[in-house]
Structures are given as C-alpha cells and as structure tokens.
C-alpha cells in the first residue's frame, strides 16, 4: 500500500503540476498569441527556443537552469537581490524549471488554435467596436478553447512525468522536491519493488486516463478546422 512518503510525493507532484500548468497557460498564451500573429524576424528564433525542450535531454536543460539560477547565475543574482533567495532545490525552483520544460507542449496547441482562427474573427470584432484586448478576450480565447484544453492537459501531464530536470534542479528533498518519479527511482534503487509498483502503476493509469481524455473528450480539437 501507499506509505506516508508516497502520499506526500503524490501531493507534491499534483501541487507542482497544478501551479506549473496555471503559469504555463498564462505565459504560453502570450507567447502563442505573439507567435501566431507576428511578422517579426524574431518569430523563428523564439519559436525554436520554445521548442528546445522537446529535443534536448532533460539533464542538459537541468544543467543550464541550475547554472542560471545558481548563486553566480544571472537569474540567481536577481532572485537574491530581490530577497527571494536561491531557487534550486526549492519548490519554486521546480516550478520555474517545469514551466520552461513543458512550455512547448502548451504553446504549440494554443498557437495552432490561434493560427486556425485567421484574421477574420478579429476584424469582425473590430468593426463591432471591440478594442484589440477586448477582441482577444471575447473572441480569440473562446474560439481557441479546444487548443487551451489540449494545452492544459498536455502541460499538466508532462510536468507530472518529468524526472531528469527535477533531479538536476530539485534534488530529492522529502516534502519539498521529491516528486513521484523521483521516489520511484529511490524505491527501485533500494530494491523495494512492491512500493515502486504501486507508484509506477498509478502513473501508468493516470497517464493513460489523461491521454484517453485528450483523445475522446475533445474531438472538437481535431474536427474543428
């Protein structure tokens, strides 16, 4: 059965994924909107930057994030100067890492949904006296809802499933940074296969259910175009 440590890790994982998903939706929407609408030459570089986590090994991302957020990194100096302290090996360090790591999975569905809208609905809104922000909130966002649903599910699931970045940035501190994937690793290392089974089984079931939801609940995301 699940022990106290297991439950704590599950709770931490859900909390991390929840917070990260909220931040991802906010940040991802802004980036996706910009990428979908811009004609700037920076579109290519920014798009590639956002997509990097898809191809890079998590250890590489974790390594650079660690340097950036460490005591001598620019982000680390900034957080120390702001009185927040250092982010590595804290919950918020994990949040920042997760947001960067899961960003492409959130940006791309939203960007696709925005691009599929085309210019017309926003032009119509403008002729009906809606300011650009008004049109964005009352037309673009509601019409891109299937994209947001996909993005939220993928962002949440991807954060739950991360391992390498967590290990590099968060380490393995019970209750603070020891998420399910790391705890499974611990169990296996300690040859506690039964406990590993429980957690691993829950992860498989969870991931399957999430993907099932994605493929059945939002058929609109596929047929809308």
């Amino acid at each position: 059965m699940l022990t106290e440590a297991d439950l704590s890790a599950i709770w931490l994982t859900l909390r991390l994924a929840g917070v990260a998903t909220l931040l991802l939706l906010l940040l991802g929407t802004l980036i996706a909107w910009w990428l979908a609408r811009t004609r700037s030459p920076w579109k290519g570089p920014v798009g590639a930057m956002v997509a990097l986590p898809i191809v890079l090994p998590p250890t590489v991302i974790g390594f650079y994030l660690l340097l950036l957020m460490g005591p001598n990194g620019p982000v680390g100096r900034l957080t120390q100067w702001a009185g927040i302290g250092l982010l590595p090996f804290t919950f918020w360090g994990l949040v920042v890492a997760s947001v960067f790591y899961s960003l492409p999975f959130v940006v791309q569905p939203i960007q696709n949904a925005f691009e599929a809208l085309g210019k017309r609905p926003l032009e119509v809104a403008a002729t009906l006296r809606a300011s650009p922000l008004d049109a964005f909130l009352t037309v673009a966002v509601p019409l891109a809802r299937p994209g947001f649903l996909t993005a939220a599910i993928l962002g949440f699931a991807h954060t739950v499933g991360e391992f390498g970045v967590v290990l590099m940035i968060g380490g393995n501190i019970p209750g603070k940074t020891r998420v399910v994937s790391v705890l499974i690793y611990d169990h296996v290392e300690a040859l506690e296969y039964t406990r590993a089974h429980w957690l691993a089984g829950i992860m498989v079931a969870f991931s399957f259910l999430v993907l099932l939801a994605l493929y059945t609940l939002s058929p609109a995301a596929r047929t809308r175009r």
Partner: protein
C-alpha cells in the same frame, strides 16, 4: 460627404482612388475581381492601413497624415462576404456583441431591425444551424445594431447561391428605403447594382473609371460602362396605373410613362426599370401603326462612337433623365441627330428589375 483618397503600390496591384461620395443612398463600387474594390472598402474601414491615405466622413477626419482612427473607433458597420458570425455565440449574442459596445443604452434588440431583416425567430439559434441566407441577414442586422454612420458591404451576396440571393435582395431593397445612412456596396454583379445602387463608382485595375449618379454614369458616352452584356440605363419611377385587361402597369418618371409587364407591384411603389441601348430606336415623328408600346418625346444631347464603326451611341434626355440609343452610323447621319433636336425614342423592351 465621404472624401477618400488612397494610393497603394504593391507589385502586381496598384490602387489609385480619389473619391467624393454622397452621404446618403447606396453607392456601388463596381468592377471585376482584382479591380481594387475590396481593398478600397477595407482601407475605408481601417482594416487595411494605407500610408498617406486620406479619409473624411461628414467633416470628421478618420485618416490623414497624422491621424489614423483604428477600426474599433470608427462608427461604421461592415458586412463581409461570408457572414462571419461568431460561432461561440448565439444569434442574440452575435447581435448584442456590437450593440453593447457601440452604445451605452443598448438594452434589448429593437424590433424594427429584427423585422426589417426577418430574423426575430432566430435569436436563440446557433450560427451553425442557420442557412447561408439567414446567416447573412443576421450579419447585416449585427452591423446595423452598432448604429453606424456608414455601412460598408463587401459583396454580401457573392457567397450565396441564386435562390439565397433572391431571398436576400428584397431585404436589401427594404434597407435601402429605410436607411438614413450612406452605404458603400462592393459588387461585381450587374443585377445587384441595377437593383440597389443610387450612385456608381466603376473601378478597373485599381483606378476609378467613372463615378456619379447611377443613371447619368451609365449614360455617359465617354466611358461606355456596361452593367452586364450591354450598354443601357436604369431609371427609377413609380407605379402609376394598372391595366388589368392587358396585364400591364405604367411606370411614371420625369420623362413620361412606360408600360411594363404587371408583376404585382401595388400602385405607388417605387420601382426601377432597365432600358438597353440596343432596344431604343429613334424617329423624327411619332410613329403610328407599330407594335412598339413605349414611345417618348426626347431631346438629343450627344452622340458618340460605339464598339463597331458601323454603330453609334446616342444620348437622349427624357425630361432630364438620360437614356442611350444604339443606331447604325448611317441612320444617325440620315436623321441628322444634332444635340438639341427633339425626336421620339421608341423603346422596344423595358425590363422591370426586382
């Protein structure tokens, strides 16, 4: 008065328009596709930003060297070729979207607009469940409910099949009668122009070929503008008399009366008739013993060359209303048709439009 000056120079497309348009009635922007009609309309709406453009509506500058009023600050209504209703809102939601933003006191949808476009029974429906014609009527109502000072319509019927067009045209004619604001109506359909337009702007390759009141512009000899297959004019008149025995009605206008087939218009109705140049012949004296029903006393105002050297176009005035007649050059010479001569126009065919 609408004053618009726009100049664009893209590779493969140029627009060079300098227009003064009346601030009432329907002005048709007419021309083949690619002639710049839609670009001009979008520039007026502020959807296309034309650097160096100038636009003034009833004395209020919407665009000049310094000012560029963004689209959402321009009190205009825009009807797109595809209805473009918001799919996430009901018909009511669509109608209220613009109404709420345009006016502070926007409570309740005025029956007048709903009745005018026949959409009162559709309010709870989703755009997806509407026919193409219904959608376009909702889109027109949606634009009107913002209480625009200028209504822009970009080929509102082009995406519809013939039956749907026939369904909407009467609504547009009602609109024409009821509306007190100017309408710019982009079209490449001679039928729509003949039925709806008061003023005509003809565009070709981004340039304005001619602009002015419909009948006068159609009767110009220096730029034979054709609505469809042949030169001719459109005249507006009133149904004045009904001949029930022969199923005819008489349409009176400033130049006299024209007998046309009775299509059921009540006495007093304003209607339009179309007279093609090839259906008008000229006689010095009133002709008796002819099958031609309509003959009007007219004055020759001008004449000019036609498509073939054997033909001439003669411009006539019937009580101030211009008309065109196509004659052979030989007949024109034999009749000695100089400006000022009073002759009889024999009109073989008059088509009642709409």
């Amino acid at each position: 008065m609408i004053e618009a000056r726009f100049r664009l120079d893209y590779p493969g497309f140029a627009l060079d328009a300098d227009l003064s348009l009346p601030s009432q009635g329907i002005t048709a922007l007419f021309g083949p596709s690619g002639s710049g009609k839609t670009t001009l309309l979008r520039a007026i709406a502020g959807l296309e930003r034309v650097p160096g453009g100038y636009l003034r509506i009833d004395g209020e500058v919407w665009q000049d060297g310094r000012t560029f009023l963004p689209t959402h600050r321009r009190p205009l209504g825009y009807v797109f070729q595809e209805a473009s209703l918001f799919p996430h809102l009901s018909v009511r939601g669509n109608l209220e979207y613009g109404q709420r933003r345009a006016q502070a006191d926007g409570t309740g949808l005025p029956d007048q607009v709903l009745t005018l476009l026949g959409i009162g029974h559709l309010l709870a429906r989703r755009p997806k469940g509407l026919s193409g014609g219904e959608r376009q009527r909702v889109a027109i109502a949606r634009a009107l409910l913002t209480r625009p000072r200028l209504l822009l319509m970009d080929e509102p019927l082009a995406a519809l099949d013939q039956a749907r067009k026939a369904e909407i045209l009467p609504y547009l004619e009602d609109l024409h009668r009821e509306l007190r604001i100017p309408v710019l109506y982009v079209s490449h359909s001679p039928e729509e122009v003949a039925r709806l337009a008061d003023h005509l702007v003809v565009l070709e390759d981004g340039r304005v070929l001619g602009a002015g009141p419909l009948t006068e512009t159609l009767a110009r000899l220096d730029l034979p503008i054709r609505l469809g297959e042949d030169a001719g004019v459109v005249i507006e008149g009133r149904v004045a008399l009904r001949d029930t025995e022969w199923h005819l009605v008489r349409v009176d206008f400033a130049g006299g009366g024209l007998w046309v087939r009775d299509t059921g218009h009540p006495i007093g109705d304003r209607v339009r008739v179309r007279i093609l140049a090839r259906d008008v012949s000229i006689a010095r004296e009133p002709v008796h013993g002819t099958s031609i029903l309509n003959a009007l006393p007219v004055t020759v105002t001008a004449s000019g060359p036609d498509a073939h050297p054997a033909l001439r176009l003669v411009q006539l005035s019937a009580g101030g209303v211009p008309m065109l007649a196509r004659l052979t050059a030989r007949s024109a010479a034999a009749l000695d048709l100089a400006p000022g001569h009073r002759v009889w126009a024999q009109i073989k065919a008059v088509a009642l439009i709409g």
